[in-house]
Subunit: 401 residues, 2 copies
């Protein structure tokens, strides 16, 4: 066991701290690689992330060639490059077997070894790879999730020497910290995905109830996203609306077919039944930690409220109606007017816009209506793509039959 | 900056490695606390986890008092004890403000400070707390999720001295690593929860379609869990069945009310429509990473298959039917026979068991039927609790009205 100088120790501690404070995984991995190279004095190194059967370059640094590639620098061609995992390469061998590889000289690997060294990078860049250290990154179940590879260890005289046993211990600690950061980032992504998963399964259910729903909810999502950008929402919040707005009518799964699909006029009693769908939707979506499902719940509950207070179920008015509900109210009506339903044909766009404009300050929040006017080109292009063209295609298919 | 001796450095590296390899959070936190105390030479220490407005003892060690409390030792009274967070205590102050506290002597804190030291533990245990170091654990958003507190730092002469600036740097690194492990564990739990969340939202939807479903799916889950224990499933897998079995009929949300709720006999065409519900269910539940939802999908798809190959939709037979599907097939029939439905009264238990037994090797897998016989007491006690008593209660309520 060797000693670390003061700076090396400081670097080691600093990596530990950055682990919980650096929010961007790419920067964190870049930082881990930089610090471990500095402490050990390795000329070059790469941090690979395993993705299915491939390894992806997540960070790569080479002092001699003065290159530094990380996900932070988006322009670099090496960035996010992947290659299939094979036991024949050094990093591939570590990834497949989960073993640590310590190579004295990459050019003198015995033919009897299962792995070898590909000199093409060296030739192309006039580089000479000698000592190599490959340490797999593993998750808690012991599965390999990446590889940390270091190249050319300098001794104090500036000569390239093999990596030592001590280096292996050091690098294992760094690799473990990188592995935890990776796992963490993957879990965070999985968690977000799982909420989108919930919403999309509910959407599948809604589609079974009403076949025309599929395209309607897609358009609703797109329109709502467009308006929320126009209203200054962040990209994250606008994307949330893209998936939350389609949940507005999920409560209709709780309305009996006889009422929901009645062809003629509804009686007052039937209307009352239909008008429970916001509360049913809110009930289906209640009590979640996720922003997506919370927003979906608000939209389900408030998309039939009107700016002037004559909507339902709460008859709230003006800014008391949550903004996302006001957005969904407008896009829902726009879609109802501009498309054909079982009870009506699609109105032409002039008529649609006439009705929409007359409802500014009545049914619709004036600010949202203004955003709608400003974003009209984009709205109409979505309408063209997700309604007119889609309808034309369906008709063609029907004629062919 | 000071130096670390060889063993201290080894300990530091070892914590990094355990971070990605130790699967149990309690052991990991205990290990972090032990190593940091050893490296710094602190007599005592506690790792608190923040839970809402409280701090929970996750690990606690005191060399002088020769106590060691961690979640690993289940018997200990301190274990998992919580107390409300208050700015007046040292750990509370660190938790509220996110600041690091370094105290020379806990008994000489100025009255002007917002925090103070509670001597009751010392008095009770004849201990003397002097130097204290409190470092908050933070997640990536900078939110405090715990506190690492160390007490009484020994110098080389065995005298208690204040913690140094260098100790602060060391402890921050350890605290960060503990924070990442905590976050990781929380994320893993949230992810599992989110899949249960999906299933329970779908169950709410199913209930709207058919009010009698709520108790039926609860019983289905309980019966399936009982049988899976009997068949040697692990606790985790049996719990999975508890939540997955209730998803068997989720596909019915896609069947029109007119067919699903028809009072009389179904026509052949209507029967065909009903018999699509396994595929609809499988479609709603397809393509998940989660064991729970994958199992739910298998159950939805196969709970109407029969051991002798005369079921639907695939007419598979024997062990080609997944075991979880064979379990759900049996429990579904048992519940249908033993409870009253809109089309029939509940049969008495003798008749139910007679029918069940006659179907062994016909409708039902013989092994699952044997498990049912062996677990009959438990099954009947669930039946009593979730059917007979529940029905009696409902009837009482109806009479009161």
């Amino acid at each position: 066991m060797e000693h670390l100088n003061t700076q090396a120790l400081r670097d080691l501690l600093e990596v530990g701290v950055s682990l919980s404070s650096e929010t961007r995984l790419d920067r964190l991995l870049d930082n881990v690689l930089e610090k471990v190279r500095k402490i050990i004095d390795a000329d070059a190194g790469t941090l690979y992330v395993k993705e299915g059967n491939k390894l992806r370059f997540a960070a790569s640094q080479n002092d001699t060639l003065q290159t530094r590639v990380s996900a932070v620098e988006r322009g670099n061609p090496l960035l996010n490059m992947t290659f299939p995992i094979s036991k024949k390469s050094l990093s591939g061998y570590a990834a497949v077997t989960g073993e640590i590889l310590r190579i004295r000289d990459a050019y003198e690997i015995k033919k009897s070894e299962p792995y070898g060294f590909d000199r093409s990078f060296d030739k192309k860049n006039n580089y000479r790879t000698r000592s190599v250290l490959c340490v797999p990154l593993k998750d808690r179940e012991g599965q390999v999730i990446g590889v940390l590879q270091l190249i050319n260890n300098y001794n104090k005289q500036g000569k390239v020497v093999p990596f030592s046993e001590f280096h292996v211990e050091l690098v294992r600690s760094f690799a473990s910290q990188a592995a935890v950061a990776l796992t963490n980032s993957q879990l965070t992504e999985d968690l977000l995905d799982s909420y989108y998963d919930t919403v999309s399964r509910l959407a599948v259910v809604a589609e079974y109830k009403d076949k025309s729903t599929a395209m309607h909810i897609k358009r609703m999502g797109m329109y709502a996203q467009t308006l929320s950008y126009q209203l200054g929402f962040s990209q994250e919040d606008a994307e949330c609306l893209l998936y939350a707005a389609p949940m507005h009518d999920i409560g209709k799964v709780g309305i009996p077919d006889a009422v929901l699909m009645k062809p003629g006029k509804l009686t007052a009693a039937e209307r009352k039944v239909i008008e429970t769908h916001p509360q049913i939707g809110a009930k289906i979506l209640e009590g979640s930690k996720s922003e997506l499902i919370k927003t979906s719940r608000v939209i389900a509950m408030t998309h039939h409220e009107k700016w002037n207070g004559t909507g339902y179920p709460q008859q709230i008015k003006g800014k008391k109606i949550p903004l996302v509900g006001r957005i969904a109210a407008l896009t829902d009506v726009f879609d109802a007017l501009s498309t054909s339903r079982c009870y009506k044909n699609a109105f032409d766009m002039e008529r649609v816009l006439g009705i929409m404009r007359s409802e500014k300050g009545q049914h619709f929040c004036p600010t949202v209506m203004e955003a709608f006017e400003s974003a009209l080109d984009e709205i109409l292009s979505t309408y063209d793509r997700l309604y007119l063209k889609a309808e034309a295609k369906t008709k063609k298919l029907k004629i062919k039959k």
